[in-house]
Subunit: 355 residues, 2 copies
């Protein structure tokens, strides 16, 4: 009665490694060896097992494997971005996915909306799910919490922004150099009254870009406290309103440096509304789609989000491999270059040249 019944491979019920072993007439460990590509299995046996797996349509249970595996890899990665629907972040995301897929690693993506609490909650959720590694954009003022929340064997790579109170690999753009470059470009056209428009000042990149703006202005003799710099512009609408106001004032700027893609969009809208797009110069940080089709084309300092994503993912896997081998790599701060793309808006000269 308890003997092997000759039921055909019926029910789509749940197929386990045991059924496969029984059907193939081998031990369960042998099946395990085959699926994991371990040595010490006769070619013929392996073939038979593979055939059985295919016939029974068995899929190994990832959770069960990870439970016992010492080298525990969930083949899973946690990615935290400003927002998955921001073009800059989405490009990073895609590049990371392209690296991860080669290792059969799946990506959990989360948006943080500049909310420190959400950053911590997302990291905790990733850790609970035992991700192999983390690629993080940070919103919180300090990343010291990571030391207690993330196990030491889980590598972390920061992307786009440098962390505070925590040391780990970072991949980011040359924000300082880029914003200096952008500002100098406007100064070189003869502009002296240049308005700098920035995102919320709590964001690391926003601070860096503001610093770059200030440095370039200082080179031309403008003291930091005399800067026409507006921070905390969190939406295109806020940027638009600010530009409308600035240009209405008696000391209106002749040029604008917009330090983030959404701010650039708002600024362009404002200039159009006033019909002054051929009159007031504009350079933006981070590229914008269709920037070349607008009249005038928008001059920007373009970042390399795809390269950033790729570099971050590759570094993460290097760390993973190194740590499994026993020696973690030292943290590296990778800075990617940015490119000034001249399309017209940044090459407008002031109506009454200062120089």
């Amino acid at each position: 009665m308890t003997s092997v019944s000759d039921q055909p491979s019926t029910a789509r019920a749940r197929v386990t490694i045991r059924e496969v072993a029984r059907e193939a007439g081998v031990g369960i460990k042998t099946v395990s060896r085959v699926v994991n590509g371990e040595p010490n299995v006769a070619a013929a046996t392996a073939e038979r097992v593979r055939e059985t797996i295919a016939r029974l349509q068995w899929e190994p249970d990832a959770h069960a494997s990870n439970l016992r595996r010492t080298n525990t890899r969930t083949r899973t990665l946690g990615l935290l971005l400003g927002s998955v629907d921001n073009p800059f972040a989405a490009t990073i995301h895609r590049a990371i996915e392209d690296v991860a897929i080669h290792r059969d690693v799946a990506v959990f993506a989360s948006s943080l909306d500049e909310d420190p609490a959400r950053e911590i909650a997302a990291v905790e959720a990733f850790v609970r799910r035992k991700v192999d590694g983390l690629i993080l954009t940070c919103a919180a003022g300090s990343q010291s919490y990571l030391a207690e929340v993330v196990p030491p064997e889980v590598p972390i790579v920061f992307i786009d922004r440098e962390p505070a109170d925590f040391t780990a690999d970072t991949v980011r753009s040359d924000n300082l150099g880029g914003s200096t470059l952008a500002t100098r470009h406007l100064l070189a056209q003869g502009h002296r009254r240049i308005a700098g428009l920035f995102d919320r000042s709590a964001i690391w990149t926003s601070q860096q870009r503001r610093e770059g703006f200030a440095r370039a202005m200082a080179e031309y003799g403008v003291a930091p406290d005399q800067l026409d710099a507006m921070s905390d512009l969190t939406t295109p609408q806020a940027a638009e309103a600010t530009v409308l106001e600035l240009l209405g004032s008696p000391t209106a700027p002749t040029a604008i440096f917009s330090a983030q893609n959404r701010i650039t969009v708002g600024a362009v809208h404002a200039l159009r509304k006033l019909g002054r797009q051929h009159d007031v110069a504009l350079v933006g940080f981070d590229d914008v789609e269709l920037a070349d089709l607008i009249d005038p084309g928008i001059t920007v300092v373009a970042q390399r989000p795809a390269a950033m994503g790729q570099a971050a993912a590759e570094r993460l896997f290097e760390q993973l491999d190194a740590r499994r081998a026993g020696d973690p790599l030292p943290a590296v701060d990778a800075v990617l270059p940015v490119d000034l793309v001249c399309r017209g808006s940044g090459e407008i000269r002031p109506s009454a040249p200062t120089d």
Copy 2:
């Protein structure tokens, strides 16, 4: 020797439910009850357990729990998109994440690049990871494989495109109505020679939009076989080249219907290159960023990707709840309306009116 040692809560090593139980002086089942909010635990006991959990910083292992749990929820969801960096898809992604986060569900996102093999591989990877549900954009010609690959208790919602050979909930735009609307809009301006530019014909939405285009043209007496319709334009570059060629021919169209966002971008580039953007009419399907800042503004049939994502995620969770309660909901085909947004390019009249 084997008695309980009074080691202080040392090593950040791995804390398990057993340690917590031992420290709190209760059985492990009681700890389990507390973390899962099950009844039959004295308030004082529960409090003591919670205190111990906090002190030991224990995080339950999600994989271990899911192994034995019958009601197995990994609080995980698989999302397959054309590409995570396409703005349309990225907006859907964000909307889904916003619904999922309320249920503490994490989202695995994957891109398929219109590759049928990648679709299947991605779904298998999701299933292996025991996701609670799937939201899929499909590239394969048939989704019949899902019946064998996806366990019946895992709900599937299709987004953007209808599946073939498989029945499940679908959330999509009114592609047929939208493309008819777009084409009629051009016809109403007096255009009769209208070129239709489409994505690869294997894609469901591409077929639908082509059908809508054909129907509207037929209303004005143009037979399907006389249509100026170009398919398989997979990149903006291809679209641009096609438009350049079309406009150079003796029977050049006076208007263009571009059936996808990247095709629209290519078409605009071509028109600019020829300096004919104020001369040849253009209506695109799916909105494009900064379309209002270009001169002329691009008239489009706008979809509602955020609403699509939200609807799909909500439907998925409804199905999940219903199935756990024992009665799956019948499959529904939700069709979201599209909106004609007139910005100028679609309102250009033919130089030599036909009517």
